[in-house]
Amino acid sequence: MKKSVLFGTLTAAGLAAGAASAATLDDVQARGTLNCGVTTGLVGFAAPDADGEWQGFDVAVCRAVAAAVLGDPMAVEFVPTTGQTRFTALASGEIDMLARNTTWTFTRDVDLKFEFVGINYYDGQAFMVPRDLGVSSAMDLDGATVCIQTGTTTELNLADFFRVNDMEYEPLPIETNAEAQQQYLAGACDVYTTDSSGLAATRASFENPSDHVILPETVSKEPLGPLVRHGDNEWGDVVRWTLMSLIAAEEMGVTADNVEEMAEGTDDPEINRMLGSSGELGAKLGLDSDWAVRAIQAGGNYGELFAKHIGEETPVGLARGLNAQYTDGGLLYAMPFR
């Protein structure tokens, strides 16, 4: 009798463990919250504000997905991950999606078995040094001590950059951006290197941002985007098209303010399909027809999110650059809603 109970429990646990990787959408809806992996704190991208509420550009993607899937942008459980723990957290099912300025690379896509659903920020790796060090080019960094977050692509790019240019350096490995900031400001390293958006965000939180310069060289391509586990295509589609709807909304002039009004029906058939007043795109995703309306209402379209969290008006002060719509000479290009 006892034995059968034990085996029954084991079997149930086994089934539960097996099912965890299959239908993430159902799991999220049953749970009522979205588990979203973010950084441990990078101002502008993901950091808790004074009220302890997570804010930022990556956070906004999580909130849009939660709004589309659950109808509530606040129904997100944020899981802070380091460069080292993020992939394990995603692969093990601890988080449903990862929005942690993560670079889309071949190895991560193919070998680590993840699925990048798109790109929400086109970035590149750069170096930041104190102004009084008198360095004006990354080529002058021979022999420098470099603060580097472990478990990142920047770590590999750094090794390649110094090797190819036949220079020496001393890596100072650190776990989180906060730790890097402390070490860099204490002068334990001469240089801090990460994606240039990350450098700008970090510098914005310094007491005297103008005492530090970001060197002109960009040594790599870093397309950053949200990702999900390989093999659950339905869930991947939900996250992908939520991101697409934010980008498309900016292109088509749909904003957080006018989305309600536009959802009633417009002259533009694509807007109608996206916002659900014609066609059944929502049902095909396994959601209701208002999914995109809620995603856009959560924080605004891509342009609004950019301006609010990392744009030129914010302390981070990033220009749109590559991240402008293709119609403005950038790389953002939402696939058609058809």
């Binding site: 460069g83 692969a91 070998d111 022999g143 420098a144 001590t145 770590e155 890596p171 100072l172």
Partner: protein
Amino acid sequence: MSASTDVPKASFRLSQLIYDTRYRSITIQVIALVLLVAALWWLVNNTVQNLETLGKDFDFGFLTQPAGYDINQRLIDYDSQSTHGRAAMVGILNTLLVALLGCALATIVGVLAGVLRLSKNWLVSNLTAVYVEGFRNVPLLLWIILIFAIMTESTPEPRDFRGEDATASLIVGETVAVTNRGVYIPRVGFENSLSAAGADWRAETAALEAGEEAAPPPSSGLDWLIVFGVLVASILGARWNTRRADAIQEATGDRPATWYVNLGIIVLPTLAALLALGATIVAPIFRGFNFAEGIHLRNSLIALWLALALYTGAFVAEIVRAGILSVSKGQTEAASALGLRPGRIMNLVILPQALRVIIPPLISQYLNLTKNSSLAIAVGYMDVRSTLGGITINQTGRELEGMLLLGLFYLVLSLVISALMNVYNNAVKLKER
């Protein structure tokens, strides 16, 4: 009586498995074993299934792939083009280094603190009590981070040593630089180095024009091997001398003085070897962004080493104190009655007897220290947990394989330390004749 022979042979019934004390324990053991095997099988099966669902295989091939990342503290040659296996080796050596340094310092600190805590001097015994309780009762990770933060925040940057108006300067006769990136201490260079680098250096120095400054002489493993070889031979010689003195004492009752002969036997040949190789002290020099030359003891190493040693030292102190208290007071009084001074009582009477109580728990402390060294990642010390168990796993996605290898390494290392300490324990334990 014949009655006992015709007792009916009881046939075996199933209920006997539970109710018969002859079989009950076996039944319980068999059931427990079956359950254990089933649980293990379920764990393994579950892992295999989940790996399959994720589309991952089980493969150690990544160890031969190029690692692609750099490691700052390397005891063997390594660059970013070396393999993940080599990176793991670098990490293993770094773990061994900090474990060895930590165990040595923990023993010294622990024995001192353990003895001092029993001191009759109120100040001394209470100060050591504060040390022991303070370190024993605060988590190790906090000590590691605290020491690291102090070293980073309170020491000057390397560039403060630069230029005419330097705000910091080298200490100990311009040979040691304490910076917030670590402590740079002088190294020994060999002008007559036997390695290829030595020959190159002599050719370069000979070709220098007047006024040009010579590069510091190199050192190589070969040179150190010679010096240590001579040292070991000298120590063996000194032991032979001591045994000769013992023999003379046995035979005649007079013991010839040995200490200055031994000192000479040990020091003179080693000194001669160093002189022949042209040993010179090379102090760290500021160059570019950092100090060059000299030996760089990184802050991460120092913080981890000190924290591990002081933390474990507090436990060792308690073990030593318990060991000393286990020797009955009568021993002290008897030694005292024989006219021994307190220091000699401790060294000759108490400690040898206390050792057999001290050694077994000391082994666990060494094992703890070695395993605790995996907290290294907190300060970015590149031990095996940070290389194989951190960056390699992260870059290749081989969590299971990496963690299994890591577990295997710590297991083997712990067993080796245990075995070595057991050999020592057998040598010092009470020998009953």
